[in-house]
Amino acid sequence: MAVETEALDLTEESPVRNEAVVYTETVVFAPPERYAADAPYQLAIVELPSGERTTVRILGKTPSERVSIGDRVLFVSEEDGVRFYRKSTVPAEEQTGNTPRPLI
């Protein structure tokens, strides 16, 4: 079952290519050993424009940067196979987590 999205422009130059929609999410307070320094962090399964779903990290530490089901998120970077996204509606001046932590 797909998350409902508007028809998306998936051409090379379209910024929509970097968008995804939150299918579900959680904030992890009890991390595995190797991510102990990151906690708490938000994790989400997002639906990509292709319809594929993937598990990603959501950047940011403040409540306004947290995402909920149905929120649009923007791709920020990929580090060691982990994709980082941020909430698309957070004003730039409120963003705290634009640089992903280096991963162990």
Partner: protein, 393 residues
Amino acid sequence: MEVVLVYMRSVAVLGIGKTAFGAFPDRDLRSLAVEAANLAMSDAQLPSEKLEAFYLGNFAGPSFVGQNHLAPYIGTALGFLGIPCTRIEDACASGGSAFFHAWQSVASGVYDSVVVAGVEKMTSQSTPRVTEILAGAGDMAGEGRAGATFPALFAMIARRHMHQYGTTREQLASVAVKNHANGAKNPLAHMRKLISLEQALAGKPIAEPLTVFDCSLISDGAAAVVLVPADHAPRYHSRFARIRGVAQTSDYVALDRKDDITFFPAVQSAGKKAYEAAGIGPEDISLAELHDCFTIAEIIASEDLGFAQKGEGGPFAAAGCTAIGGRIPINTSGGLKAKGHPVGATGVGQICDIVQQLRGDAGERQVARSRLGLAQNLGGSGATCVVTILEAA
């Protein structure tokens, strides 16, 4: 008409044995498994030299205690020399899977008497290390690398169930309150402590919306059963239970591969197969042990197995329908939540708990007139499921 070419024998659980579940710093993995298996063989009135094969359910002995080759390591300590000793790993369904494969070996006529044990020794590791090891039951290249823990995966399942069906945190917490109430009456349970709804709701957050009270326990423990053909069972004693139906199924390991995470296809299909084999439906079941690794998992399993309508598992639990004395008592043992969850032991322990009820031996937790019991053991976020239906002799 479908022609069944393979003749399968009816199989009975002749003996059961369990250690207490808990944190036992002075006990090693082997001594726990040996204790449970000896109890089961003694209960079966079958000495170890009569056993023809040994199946062991264990999730992560190599990671938790640094020992591999566990089946003959434990088997020889039980006096099994020369017989096949095999360890089976299917995450939190390792015990159920070992039971299923042992059942196959007796049902098919290969063996006339086998022992199945499940064991895990977890508490010698720190909680972050245990979390890391358990995460290995998920897709480590995908969700695991992104930082998913098992509480996080089930938290995301809970969020979605709440979003689609209006399930509330209070309904989740009511499962924990009920399982603690049952566990408090179980002398072998890890946590024999009553909790209130307010306490459960105010628990330390683990992965939102789940608090520490929504999560099962990190435990040490073992459980074992002895299986024989049902027509041999009366030669030993009359307290056996007949396996009316058992099924094992599978699904994607990665949660993000599933179309809809508010149900477990593997649970639905294992339930359907087990009900069909038994020729019964959910309305015939007297009580069930469901895999409540997290409160949401018990709610979803109660829907997937037909005890509650789809999406209604939360209100069903909150209304008391799953309590002892309710419409379908679920986890009268205390479940993984209060009894404890020594991963590899869990699936075998559930069989012991059902047989204990069918024998009328559950003391103050006894469900009146229990004739048919169901056990459901889940691996990972739903990639393995084993459902077993047992009937009193």
